[in-house]
Amino acid sequence: MALEAALVDKGVITTDAIDLFTDAMEHRFGPHHGARVVAKAWIDAEFKQRLLDDGNAAVAELGIGGLEGNIRVVENTGDTHNMVVCTLCSCYPWPLLGLPPIWYKSFAYRSRAVAEPRAVLGEFGVDLDDDVRVRVWDSSSEVRYFVLPERPPGTEGMTEDELAALIDRNAMIGTGLVAAP
């Protein structure tokens, strides 16, 4: 509060700019966008291919984009599990997921995800078979990694909106799986 007061008082920044930017971070960005992207990729194979080839262009088709939004999408399959961390700070795909959860910024997650990912996943309740290859992505440049989770069984015939409702934030960071309905 004091920082905003001092800077607005001095005319360095303005209240309406702070309002606009904060509203984008909290409401116009968020995991509801990520879930739409995943649901569409599950239903539309051509969109999924475009998403994996050029994530920025594919999500722009859905009107999604913005700061910290230069994405690369990595796909979870039966034999590969991806998870994302930023060991240096807290890089995160804002337009698709909003601001990162507190654990993503914690020293425990940042230090351990690159050294013992399965132990970390266990703390999130994710237990993978030994023959699944884990791939950890440490976001150190201006690329923001986004996990396309695996579609669970028992979702055949569901609509895009129904599918999107199954997908939570952790599944798109790779610290969760999408559970069958």
Binding site: T15, L88, R110, S141, E142
Partner: protein, 207 residues
């Protein structure tokens, strides 16, 4: 932080303390005023860094940079803190600049891709070693990959080397390099895994 030990289990259900906007709003204030930079966060001395919560680190960084750059006077923040504490009804100052909002909106809502890399020295599939180095200035090469050999998996683009002057010579290809966990950490209790990280060309050498 990568590979440090002793931080304990992950609090997977932790909820932001300054909820309902304050944390995001403070981050926005730090970003808009030019007070926030990764380099500035990393310049916080390690003991202080480890003792501060995430949002506090942004505030520490913003306050120091803005005072160093002469944007704020050293006692400006303290004055406002005292004002809000002694008179909780103190109104937040307001100021508007509607003519600047369209540009800001475009900036916030536009994705900036990485530029194409200028003549990369390494090709896809090349073996590369992360240089042994010990820079004091801001950099984006975590200690845990230094000295380790990996494979170039992708070349996502180019960027200025962090911490270096923004001159054309410092504009470098960035590589996504794949490492085997055994090369990073040795044989462990859990099955081996792959670690991918993006590294600037000057961090790498032929093995």
């Amino acid at each position: 932080m990568g590979g440090m030990t002793g931080f304990g289990p992950i609090d997977v259900d932790a909820v932001e303390s300054g909820h309902e906007g304050w944390e995001a709003r403070n981050q926005v204030v730090a970003l808009l005023s030019g007070g926030m930079s990764r380099a500035g966060i990393e310049e916080i001395p390690p003991a202080e860094y480890l003792n501060a919560a995430y949002a506090e680190r942004w505030l520490i960084c913003a306050e120091r940079r803005l005072v160093d750059n002469g944007v704020l006077a050293a006692d400006d923040l303290a004055t406002w803190v005292e004002r809000f504490e002694t008179a909780p009804d103190t109104e937040m100052p307001r100021r508007e600049s509607p003519e600047a909002l369209a540009d800001l909106e475009r900036m916030v809502m536009t994705t900036t891709p990485m530029p194409e890399p200028p003549s990369p020295r390494f090709a896809l599939g090349d073996r590369v070693r992360v240089k042994r180095m010990h820079p004091e200035e801001h950099n984006r090469c975590p200690r845990y990959v230094r000295g380790v050999i990996g494979d170039v998996q992708r070349i996502p683009g180019a960027d200025h080397r962090p911490g270096a002057p923004r001159t054309p010579e410092m504009f470098e290809p960035v590589y996504t390099v794949k490492f085997d966990s055994i090369d990073l950490w040795g044989q462990q209790d859990e099955p081996a895994f792959d670690l991918f990280i993006d590294l600037w060309q000057s961090y790498l050498e032929a093995p």
